[in-house]
């Protein structure tokens, strides 16, 4: 086995960050997320590799909050597209968990398949290497296994690291992973170590059959009750590693400008507001229903997997205490006989 001793971790991160922009899970101030290792400041930042996960998801590395699409010059005489903003800079995400790589898997389905390839996403994604961190100790709100994910085998990983206590087992999975292994060869040791043992999930969630059941539950009264206290604040969509809805807007000054995209949330009132005044989802109940149907049913119908990866962030962050696992449970138990 290839082993990276924890005493050599900093050296490894330094080495990797010379190859590419290296993103690591850090606690910074009062929040936590994925930040460039180069920006690490001892004293105020803390590496979170020993923690369960971080509050803000790593989707920003391949799908940033704001991204320019193309720039143009235009006036009544003529219009010219100047440049398209694909970014091919190499990046590495280190320490990403299975729930978050499964979310990236969902992103790959959305942006790279179904007739069109989103070139901005493709450029970033192709040049991003994933060093995933196998998880053996699920947290209180974790339910990735219920959503079909194996926390000890993160999907789409180029390398998987497994924490044995004083070291990481370093397991290359792809050619990209092999390249990194070669780059780190001076720091890796060749010896045996015991794979950690998987501990039980504290939170029992049963998603079996829920997607099927939801197909006939669009008009069910359960949505009235579940959506009552939702403020449609949108925090869930921002902390979710698999939420990807975006808006396209333009910034222009004089004859120049650029079109950009930015995160949008299906929870906002103007999400489906049409210029003529019609809004199919004007009510918060309708938007709430659409969000959970998308997560638990529509995405599965379209891409074969649910859009929720069981990371538990929305459960922690929701100001109204809305819990997707409770929703799954209530759907499973719902009475769908006529008149329900």
């Amino acid at each position: 086995m290839q082993i990276l001793s924890k005493s050599k971790l900093n050296a490894a991160l330094d080495l990797l960050s010379r190859q590419a922009e290296l993103f690591v899970p850090l606690a910074r101030g009062e929040e936590s997320g994925y930040y460039p290792w180069k920006s690490y400041q001892a004293g105020s930042d803390q590496l979170m590799l020993d923690a369960l996960n971080v509050m803000l998801p790593p989707k920003g590395v391949v799908f940033p909050q704001t991204e320019r699409i193309y720039s143009f010059t235009g006036n009544d005489k003529g219009v010219e597209i100047k440049e398209s903003f694909e970014n091919h800079d190499p990046r590495i995400i280190f320490g990403i968990r299975a729930c978050d790589t499964a979310a990236l898997d969902c992103f790959d389905d959305v942006f790279l398949t179904m007739g069109y390839v989103d070139s901005l996403y493709a450029a970033r994604r192709e040049n991003t290497t994933i060093i995933a961190h196998a998880c053996y100790r699920p947290g209180d709100n974790c339910f990735c296994a219920a959503m079909g994910i194996d926390p000890t085998e993160p999907t789409k990983a180029d390398v998987i690291i497994r924490d044995t206590g004083d070291a990481y087992i370093w397991e290359s999975k792809t050619d990209k992973g092999d390249k990194l292994t070669a780059a780190l060869s001076s720091l890796l040791e060749d010896r045996e170590a015991a794979t950690p043992e998987m501990q039980a999930f504290k939170h029992q969630v049963d998603y079996e059959g829920v997607a099927e059941k939801l197909k006939d539950m669009f008009e069910h009264s359960i949505w009235d009750e579940l959506s009552q206290t939702c403020q449609t604040c949108g925090i869930c969509t921002y902390v979710c590693p698999s939420c990807y809805c975006f808006d396209i807007q333009v910034k222009s000054w004089g004859d120049e400008g650029y079109r950009f995209r930015c995160y949008d949330s299906c929870m906002y009132p103007e999400y489906t507001q049409m210029a003529g005044g019609h809004n199919p989802r004007g009510d918060s109940r309708e938007r709430f229903r659409n969000r959970f149907l998308h997560k638990l049913e529509f995405f599965k119908e379209r891409y074969g997997k649910p859009l929720c990866t069981g990371c538990g962030r929305c459960i922690v962050a929701c100001p109204a205490g809305i819990d997707i696992t409770q929703i799954i449970k209530q759907i499973k138990e719902a009475d769908t006989s006529a008149g329900a």
């Binding site: 209180d140 922690v316 100001p319």
Partner: protein, 302 residues
């Protein structure tokens, strides 16, 4: 706290049974006590879930906005901050007094369920579950200012003498350069999730200025200039109207100290147009200071 919870259940059951209200807004507990959240009881059986514990921090007045166009009669619990939120809605013409039956309850100070959830989540370095929620440490009015029925013992304001605007004064004492860097650092974190706006009772415009496209006042990019604009414009709209419930800061997923900005404006409005505290009493026709004009209004900042 259990006596209070039983009393609340009695009252809610009575109101629902008699038809005096169509629904009753309060709190319920999840599996753990810290998983307390707003709850709406529609039937008498639902009242069993109502509790009032040390995590009942949410501003229930915000829940009224969903029902502003309806005609349901609504019963609700209201702590100090909730009741000031109700006054805010009444003053803004967003709700009618006749539709409400307010059960005022004095607040002993609350803990924050979000902080408790975050500290147990495994997403942050081990944080001990500290005491009072940040918003409660500056509380100037824990007793309900408007109610139809009052329960609980009268509480004293928690804010220490002379401490109310301490942090604001610290910032005021910084140089312009230092102040700019302080806010630049804070606003660069903003992910423009608009949760602060959604959680705010005073943010009740039908079409929010930040959703307006003709013209678009503030861009959607999270550039530092757009982030500054968003927060400063929103704060200006709060001047003279913010009832200091602190929900904006509590819900922020990146911990931006929003109350600092709001408190600065409260201090300024007090100084220029005061003495004035928003939402302290409902008088029909009363307007916040920036919604009315007097000839002798100070204008040396123009």
């Amino acid at each position: 706290m259990t006596d209070i919870s039983l009393k609340i259940r009695e009252i809610a059951a009575r109101l629902l049974e008699s038809g005096q209200v169509d629904m009753f807004i309060g709190w319920e507990e999840g599996e753990e006590q810290y998983q307390t959240r707003p709850f709406i009881a529609h039937r008498v059986e639902d009242v069993e879930k109502l509790v009032f514990n040390q995590y009942a921090v949410h501003n229930l007045a915000n829940a009224l906005l969903k029902y502003r166009d309806g005609s349901e009669k609504i019963g609700m619990l209201a702590k100090g901050c909730d009741s000031r939120g109700i006054v805010r809605l009444l003053q803004d013409g967003q709700f009618q007094r006749e539709r409400l039956y307010i059960v005022g309850i004095a607040c002993p100070g609350m803990k924050d369920p979000l902080a408790a959830a975050k500290s147990r989540s495994g997403f942050l370095p081990a944080v001990t579950d500290s005491g009072l929620a940040a918003k409660c440490t500056d509380c100037i009015e824990p007793n309900p200012v408007i109610y139809d029925e009052l329960i609980g013992e009268k509480e004293t304001p928690r804010v220490q003498e002379g401490q109310r605007f301490k942090l604001v004064q610290d910032i005021e004492n910084m140089t312009l350069e230092e102040r700019y860097r302080f806010f630049e650092d804070i606003f660069s974190r903003c992910i423009r999730c608009y949760a602060c706006r959604q959680a705010c009772v005073a943010c009740n415009c039908r079409t929010c200025i930040f959703d307006e496209m003709k013209p678009q006042w503030v861009g959607r990019e999270t550039s530092i200039s757009d982030n500054f604009m968003y927060h400063l414009v929103r704060a200006s709209h709060m001047a003279g109207r913010c009832i200091e419930c602190g929900e904006c800061e509590r819900v922020c997923p990146v911990n931006i100290p929003l109350m600092l900005i709001n408190q600065k404006l409260i201090k300024d409005v007090n100084a220029f147009f005061g003495p004035y505290e928003a939402g302290m009493a409902y008088t029909e026709g009363a307007k916040p200071p920036l919604s009315s004009y007097q000839e002798n209004d100070p204008d040396n900042f123009l």
